[in-house]
């Protein structure tokens, strides 16, 4: 077993510095690497480029990095629900590259899988395709999109073992598996870190080879963005 376990979030984040490009898993506030984000805020790095489907809310998730003016550029598919984000974007402080959600996921997976680029139909004929190579296959037009290049991926899983194997839960899976192994270093935080042998190899979603460092998060708030319920009968 190659041991990927580190004892703390600060050890997990060793080597991060200002100006780097980070991938961060999550959809809305679901499945975000809460502990890594808190540590990034604490470290006070600046000029960061963040690849993440969303940008958090004002006081949670990636919104915390934005409040702290640590982010230079966001690459996302949807960035509503965040007033500070809006203010920085409109004032020109923050650069934003909006990317179709499926393209965003595939740009991560391409990086993970060693593809430099791929063709997708998404965005053809729109401003997203401006300046990009297009090509026809079987009578349909496609846009060439390049794989992401990032320094660190911060992902969150439900369970993991010391070998870095990961299991996700529910829709907290989202972008997390696509970002594993898609950056130079992948840092996985988990709710429960177990010794090797405890996870059934048949149930592993992401093999440890895609993960360099793993730690158990100190606590998880798991904030719900839109609590929708029906009354009990």
């Amino acid at each position: 077993m190659i041991n990927k376990k580190v004892s703390s979030v600060s050890e997990a984040l060793q080597g991060v510095s200002s100006g780097m490009t980070f991938m961060l898993g999550g959809f809305g506030l679901c499945g975000i690497p809460e502990n890594s984000i808190t540590e990034l805020v604490k470290l006070g790095l600046t000029n960061l480029t963040c690849i993440s489907n969303n940008a958090g809310v004002d006081d949670f998730g990636l919104g915390l990095l934005l409040q702290n003016h640590q982010v230079k550029k966001m690459i996302s598919s949807y960035v509503g629900e965040n007033d500070e984000f809006e203010r920085q974007m409109l004032s020109g402080e923050l650069e934003v590259e909006l990317t179709p959600q499926g393209t965003l996921a595939e740009k991560c997976r391409a990086a993970q899988a060693g593809f430099p680029a791929f063709y997708t139909p998404a965005g053809y004929g729109t401003e997203v395709a401006e300046g990009k190579e297009t090509r026809e296959f079987n009578g349909k037009m496609y846009v060439l999109e390049e794989a992401f290049k990032a320094d660190y991926s911060f992902v969150k899983a439900w369970k993991g073992d010391e070998a870095g194997n990961l299991i996700f839960k529910g829709t907290a899976r989202n972008f997390n598996p696509c970002m594993c192994g898609a950056a130079t270093i992948t840092v996985a935080e988990v709710e429960e870190l177990v010794p090797v042998g405890e996870l059934d190899p048949n149930q592993i979603h992401i093999p440890g080879i895609f993960v360099q460092r793993i730690f158990q998060g100190e606590k998880y708030e798991k904030r719900i963005e839109q609590r929708t319920v029906r009354p009990k009968l």
């Binding site: 598919s77 949807y78 409109l90 179709p100 499926g102 965005g123 319920v229 009990k232």
Partner: protein, 217 residues
């Protein structure tokens, strides 16, 4: 004239047995409430779930189980979770049978605009560009006119596009329309709405062939 629930109810009739369906935010979300109970349909949410069920009972919500609108949901027997790349493989790979989404504008050639208004805060396209570029069966659910009373069915979209030549069917508060080579073909009228009313609210080319029936809802 239909209200939002009426539009959703009419669209629900387009959902067939055995369909995998992706519902957008807004009116499309309401469609799930009106699908016949004697057919088997699975709802996909692009954040990574197939087999979505109703909202959870109070106290049973799980932060790890949400839909693309970030609402807490439940799953039905046979449901599955998957990552975002797999989710869009289902969409791009045409495994999803029907996509229902909202729009700000639709043009008579099938172009759709639903993500950006110049000069206003741009929130992003989310999965809309992937959905419209890939699906062969797209139904747009929207009001026929905007808040200023201007037609949303145009000769040409004025807003930045989400996709080109992709919309096939539109259900509005006034009508059901099919896009063909020569424009918006009027298929059905909403209850109490005349062909003239629809013509007056449609800026694009409206094709009216013969008697147009009233919708059955």
């Amino acid at each position: 004239m239909l209200d939002k629930n009426g539009i959703a109810k009419r669209i629900a009739k387009e959902v067939k047995d055995g369909y995998y369906v992706n519902l957008g935010i807004g009116i499309p979300t309401l469609v799930a409430n009106f699908v016949r109970e004697d057919i088997e349909v699975e709802f996909q949410s692009e954040n990574g779930v197939l087999g979505m069920g109703p909202f959870p009972f109070e106290g049973e919500e799980d932060a790890d189980i949400i839909n693309a609108g970030k609402q807490t949901i439940t799953t039905l027997p046979g449901a599955s979770f998957f990552d975002s790349a797999t989710s869009f493989s289902m969409i791009r790979g045409k495994h999803v049978d029907l996509t229902i989404l909202g729009a700000m504008e639709v043009a008579e050639n099938g172009d759709i605009a639903n993500w950006k208004i110049p000069g206003k805060m741009v929130k992003g396209m989310g999965g809309a560009m992937d959905l419209v570029a890939s699906a062969e069966n797209i139904i747009v659910a929207m009001m026929h006119t905007n808040k200023r009373g201007e037609s949303k069915l145009l000769k040409k979209c004025s807003l930045p596009l989400t996709g080109v030549g992709c919309v096939t069917k539109i259900v509005t508060n006034l009508a059901v329309l099919q896009i063909k080579d020569d424009g918006f073909h009027l298929l059905e009228r909403a209850p109490g709405v005349s062909v003239e009313d629809i013509q007056a609210a449609t800026e694009g080319t409206l094709v009216v062939n013969g008697e147009i029936p009233e919708m059955e809802i």
